[in-house]
Structures are given as structure tokens and as C-alpha cells.
Symmetry: C2
Subunit: 387 residues, 2 copies
């Protein structure tokens, strides 16, 4: 009997809004979003989930959310209990939290035309996004990222996930949000490490794609290190724009083997594990980028002067580019990360390196001796750190 | 700052092959599928999961799979342990089975370029499809459906899911397979109930979309009841074709509120629960279709002569069209199903009814008195069943 050929496309679209004081009554942005979706005679529900790490800084946040939603309660029914989940990687490590969220979706009758709204850092956004994506085969999900990393990278993309038996992001889906609201006021309360950490994702996209943006980061590195808000806003916007553009024009759900945005990430993921997540994702990415940049130079791809600029910009921003775990066990622990990275992606090993600033190049093999020597190079730069 | 607009499309394609004796060495179909995907120097892995309900009928199946794969082991590495999961709805009710599958994906190093192959009825395909869809954010999944229902409906579509705290399909995703192999020889071992049950999904698509196909089913109802294989093969092929065509040309991931293929399903889902899954999905669907057809006539939509034809074809096929649970608690238990159906879909209630055979019509309200009287009508037809 004749083979049946199935072929179809699924279209996704969402906007990333930039604002301040999202929940102030005078700010119409979120209200307008819901009003535009409103269908007469039908009141949608919204379940809000907040990163508990925000509360010490914004104790009034839950009340502000409640009063904001009360101004359009005829359109949207806010579930009165605002849920709190712990922030940081623990959100993704505890399966009970996933269960709690799915139960809340069920108990509060959140259906495929209702919303789950997550407010917080990249880790809890990944957890809530996953729970939303598999409940009723996907309820609508709105992200309100509150860290540099989540506003310029994780929160504007299409992935979610939780960790499983010690494997980072082992469970997850590709599930675009219906909207992203980047409220820049949240960034003020970040500690210095989180303010800085997210910048490494912007350096990453600049290095592989946009020499001009890299030069801009160089020129603004001191101001960023001083926590000036104007350059940070530009950096986040430009990085989010490049990130979404990359998703749009490439392989949004990563069916192929190539993942250019994972530049620096094979070592970063491994280092996060080796340090038991005591370093931030963005801090690990900075080290991973430094390592693969040194590797690029040592293997004859990247001119030494370009490497110098890369290491300098990280240094000016206050990043540490070496960690003793890199050298542990004769660098074998680190090097195992390469194999794990290949396994997670599947297929042929594909690693992004640099040809020059603004231009990445993919390779399918990395030399273990050169990796080891790149680690030594970074260690020598940061003798203070050598344990 | 300027809003960033994200918009992209994701393309999916897969084939549904029809064959016999898929794992016989002389059958090149599955081998060719893998050979076509082969990339030199890269050996993909395959993890096979089998419905335990097949084993009493095909005790040699695991060995046949192993020897079939050994004929192209240079291309594909078959994970030596073939996993067994229980068949039937229990597969979707036990969260430990989901966990076992995810663990197997991890332990056997199944990556995004490897395959999880599920062989069995619709229930275990839904479980395995879900586990595959969320592992590594989606590993490639091949379905080999072995029941009428899964070959003509569930196995050729894009949904998966498991039950959660008593809610049918509460957790799941939309995740198309990379291929479907309908091996018609498996149907021979089905018990009469499972052979018959899947036919109701074909009647469903015929009723809402294709008068000619309905007439064909009428003409072949006796042969189907006698378990002739030729008409069953045509029925499955035509139903799968209409099902995939509907997905392709409509709203594949069901972002809207309209779900025409759920004709008869609001009552069917409720009845499955009320009977504790002692009746098959397809048996419940037959009753749900009968109920909504009677409702269509009683509310002045469907001519009585057309209703007569519908009830007759089910009768000839051996379906029972009444169950005492429909009347329980003054029909309130059943009627709650309407509200639950709306909640699961979200948005406005949208129910497909019939205008005539081959033409469905959507309504947004059902009259509870007419539902009750439609139940009474069916009960009167089947006095033997009235408890
Ligand atoms: N989905 C993706 O595509 C993707 C991409 C990159 C990274 N990630 C994930 O993102 C996570 C890292 O996210 P992150 O860097 O945003 O950190 P995070 O979510 O781990 O948050 C760090 C800490 O900051 C707190 N916090 C959040 N907002 C704050 C604010 N405004 N003021 C003060 N404290 C605040 C949190 O409670 C937490 O303690 C990792 O799990 C990583 O895997 C996901
Ligand atoms: N994903 C979807 O789009 C979708 C659509 C419709 C139905 N479904 C789901 O499908 C399930 C019903 O599937 P089903 O009707 O295939 O029944 P099933 O999977 O429940 O199987 C019924 C019984 O038949 C046994 N069996 C399977 N193949 C056999 C064979 N060849 N010979 C003998 N026994 C065999 C099984 O072990 C089981 O005991 C329900 O859970 C329903 O929700 C899913
Ligand atoms: Zn990152
Ligand atoms: Zn069905």
C-alpha cells in the first residue's frame, strides 16, 4: 500500500518588550498585551510564579502584581495564590518543584488558553517553562526575566529544561513563550556576580558574529563594570536581538548537529558540574570562551593580538578566567566534558572556534594536548588562583 | 527600547509506511530507512521498547528484532536490552514507567541523533513518545503501531501523553515521529474488541469529512466484522490518510480551540473514566459518536434517516452503543464531562456535531436536556444493557 507522506510547518511568533516598573499601575504594557488578546465573554486565567530570590529585594512584588492585575480583572482572572519557587540551580535539581507546578496548573484549572507567568532568573524560568510546556501538552507561557543572563539570552529563546539524576537539562522541550517582558529595573538588585555573569553571553555572540558589537563592549567595559545602566541596557537589547535573529534564521529546534551559540559551552557545562554549581553559568561561560579562544590561537586559527583583546575585555569586566577544577585529575575531568557534550548533542562532534573576532568557525575535532596547554596558559595568567 | 519581534516556522516531515512482517530479514523497508540516513563514520543508536502484551502472541519478536538489526549493525547500534513495558492504559498511569524509559535513554547514551523505537498499542506509544520527546529536549522517535486504533489514528499523529493524578493525557507534548511503520500482520493477534474498537475512529473521520468513505464502511461492515484483512487494510490506510491530511492542513499543534477530530470524544473521555478504563478508547468513541449523532438529530441538525445509517453501521460491526454509566447519577456524571472537555481544551466550548453524513458542524453550546434525552434514546435501543 502506498506510503503516506506527512509534511507541515508550525509557525511561532512572540515579542520581547523592554520596559521599567512593569507592575506599576501607570505602565500599560502588560495590560495592553492581555487586552489585545481578549475575546468577549471569555476570561482567561493567569498563574504567576515568582523566583523566591527576588523577595528580599522586592518584598512588595506579590502585592504589586495583585493590584496590577486587579485593573483588568474582567479580562484576566489572576489565580490569587502567587507561587514562589527557589531561585538558582536548585530550582532545576528538585523534581518535587516540577510536580508542584504541574499540580498547580491542574488545581487552578489553567487550560491551553490560560497563562503561566514566570518572573525570575534563568534557572526558575527553565523549570516553569518546562512545567508549562508539558501540562495539557503546552499552556501559554510568559517570561519576565530578572537577570542579565535571562534577559539577553535564556529568557528570550525557545528552550526550557530541568536537571535529571545529575545531568544538566536532561529533561526539557523546545517551547517558545507567547511573550517576554524585560523589566530593566530588576537588574539593580542583582549582586555583582550576576550582573557580570550575563555579560559573557553577549561577548559570546559578538565573538562569533559581530566584530562591531565586540568593539562596543570593549569601549564600554569599564562602564559596565561600574554598573552603569545605560550601556547594560544596550548590551542586553543587542544580545537579545542577535540571539533571536540566530534562532529565526537557523535551526530553531536544533534538529541538526551545529550549535554555534554553544561556543565556549562544552567546557562551561563541565565546569558547572565540577564546581557543583558554585560558579554561575555566565562565569563558567567566560572561562569556556577564554579556553576555546586560547585553543583557537594555539591551533593557529586566531591571531594572538585578537586573543589579547578577548582576554582583556573579560579582565576589565572582572571575570576570573581560570578555575583549579580545569586542571584536576590531569585535566581528564575537563576533557571528559567534550565527550559528554557530543553525546548530549548527538551526531558528529561540532565545536565552534574563532578565526577572528566576529567570525566563528566549526571544527569536528579538538586535540587533547592543545586543550591541556590552553588550560596551562590560563592558569599561568591567573597565578593567584592556582591551588 | 524597541520591541524585538520573533517569528519563525519549524518544518516537520515523516512517512507512514505500510508493510507486513517488518522484521523478516527479506523485508528491506526498515533497513533501507536507516541506510538512507546513514552518514559515513557515524553509527547511530537505537533503543527498542516493546508492548509486553505482544509477547504471548509473538514470543520470538525480541529475537527477530535483534537478528534483523544485526544485518546492518555497521550503520545502527541496537541497544542489546530490548525494553518491555506493559500494554494498555496502565502504561500511561504509572509514572515509574516514564522514569524507567528516561533512565534507559540516559544509561544507553541515546542522543538527539539516535532513535527510540516503540512497538505496540496506542497507550504504550503515547508513553514512549512522551519520554522520547522530553529526553534531551527530544530524541528521534519511530512508531510501530500494532493495533487498529494506533495504525489508523493515534500512532500516525503528532501527540503523546501520560495520565497524571487521574487526569487523562494531562502531561504530554506535540512531537511528530520521524517515521511510522504500520505492520499489518500484527493485527491478526488482536482480540475481537481491539480489532473492532479502532474502526470507530475511521467512522468518525468519515462522518465529519467523507460521505463516500462512510458508504464504503457500510458496504464492508460485515466483512470487517468477520475480520477480513483486505477491507481492514483499506480502512486503516484511508483513515490514516485523512487523519494526517487533517493535521497538515489545519492546526497541527492545536493552538486554536477547534478540534474537529474530537467528534464524539467529550463523552468518550468521560466514559473511559467512569468505567475505570474497562472499556477501550475506541469502544467509548463509538458510544460518544452515537450520542452526539442522536443529539444532532434531536436538535434538528441531522436527518433521522442519516442517524439510522450511523447506528446501523455500528450495530453491524458489533459495537454496543449504550453503557449504564451514561445514566448514572441522573446523567450528571456524564454531563460533567462537557465542562472537563472545555477545560482541557481551554477557551470557548467547541463541539463538533453532524449536519449530515460527511459534514460536521461546530457548535458552542450543548443543551443538557437534549443530552439526557439522547442518552435515554440509546438506552432504549439496547435494553439488554440497562442495569
Ligand atoms: N533555556 C536556555 O536557553 C538557557 C540558556 C542559558 C542558560 N540557561 C540556564 O539559566 C540558568 C542561569 O540563569 P541566571 O544566570 O539567570 O541565574 P539564576 O536563575 O541561577 O539566578 C541566580 C540568582 O539570582 C537570583 N535573582 C534572580 N533575579 C534577581 C534580581 N533581579 N535581583 C537579585 N537576585 C536575583 C536568583 O534567586 C538566584 O539566587 C542556568 O540554569 C542555565 O542552564 C538556560
Ligand atoms: N496520541 C494520540 O493522538 C491518541 C489518539 C487516540 C487514542 N490515543 C490513546 O491510545 C490508547 C488506546 O490505544 P489502543 O486502542 O491501541 O489500545 P492499547 O494500547 O490500550 O492496547 C490494548 C491492548 O492490546 C494489546 N496489544 C497491542 N497490540 C496487540 C496485538 N497486535 N495483538 C494482541 N494484543 C495487542 C496491548 O498490550 C493492550 O493490552 C489510549 O490511551 C488513548 O488515549 C492516543
Ligand atoms: Zn549559555
Ligand atoms: Zn480517539
Amino acid at each position: 500500500m502506498q506510503t503516506i507522506q506527512q509534511h507541515f510547518q508550525v509557525a511561532y511568533s512572540y515579542s520581547i518588550y523592554f520596559t521599567r516598573n512593569l507592575f506599576e499601575e501607570s505602565n500599560p504594557l502588560l495590560r495592553s498585551f492581555f487586552e489585545a488578546l481578549h475575546e468577549p465573554g471569555f476570561r482567561r486565567k493567569a498563574l504567576v510564579v515568582v523566583d523566591a530570590g527576588l523577595l528580599p529585594h522586592y518584598p512588595e512584588l506579590p502585592d504589586a502584581i495583585t493590584s496590577y492585575f486587579s485593573t483588568f480583572s474582567s479580562h484576566v482572572h489572576l489565580v490569587p495564590d502567587i507561587l514562589l519557587v527557589p531561585g538558582g540551580e536548585q530550582a532545576k535539581n528538585d523534581p518535587a518543584l516540577f510536580d508542584q507546578l504541574v499540580r498547580a496548573v491542574d488545581e487552578h484549572g489553567i487550560d491551553r488558553h490560560s497563562f503561566v507567568i514566570a518572573i525570575g532568573g534563568g534557572a526558575m524560568l527553565d523549570l516553569v517553562g518546562y512545567a508549562a510546556a508539558v501540562s495539557h501538552r503546552g499552556v501559554k507561557h510568559i517570561r519576565i526575566p530578572t537577570t542579565v543572563l535571562s534577559q539577553n539570552d535564556s529568557g528570550v529563546g525557545v528552550k526550557n529544561g530541568i536537571n535529571y539524576h545529575g545531568k544538566k537539562n536532561f529533561l526539557g522541550t523546545f517551547a517558545p513563550p507567547v511573550a517576554v517582558f524585560n523589566d530593566l529595573t530588576f537588574l539593580e538588585s542583582l549582586d555583582d556576580r550576576d550582573w557580570r555573569a550575563g555579560i559573557s553571553e553577549a561577548i559570546k555572540v559578538a565573538l562569533i558574529k559581530d566584530r562591531t558589537f565586540f568593539a562596543w563592549i570593549e569601549a564600554n567595559a569599564e562602564a559596565l563594570a561600574r554598573r552603569d545602566s545605560a550601556p547594560m541596557e544596550y548590551l542586553i537589547h543587542r544580545c537579545a536581538e542577535m540571539h533571536t535573529e540566530h534562532i529565526r534564521s537557523g535551526d530553531p529546534f536544533e534538529f541538526g548537529s551545529s550549535r554555534p551559540l554553544d561556543f565556549g559551552h562544552w567546557a562551561a557545562h563541565k565546569l558547572e558540574y565540577l564546581t557543583d554549581f558554585s560558579i554561575r553559568h555566565g562565569e563558567a561561560v567566560a572561562i569556556g570562551i577564554a579556553l576555546d579562544s586560547v585553543y583557537s590561537t594555539q591551533s593557529g586559527l586566531l591571531p594572538a593580538a585578537e586573543l589579547e583583546r578577548i582576554l582583556t575585555v573579560f579582565h576589565t569586566l572582572g571575570f576570573e578566567l581560570y578555575h583549579p577544577k580545569l586542571s584536576e585529575n590531569d585535566k581528564l575531568n575537563l576533557r571528559n566534558g567534550l565527550q559528554e557534550f557530543r553525546e548530549h548533542l548527538g551526531g558528529q562532534l561540532t565545536i565552534m572556534l574563532l578565526e577572528r573576532i566576529g567570525k566563528g568557525v566549526e571544527v569536528h575535532h579538538m586535540d587533547t594536548d592543545v586543550i591541556a596547554s590552553a588550560v596551562d596558559y590560563l592558569q599561568a595568567l591567573y597565578p593567584s588562583f592556582a591551588s
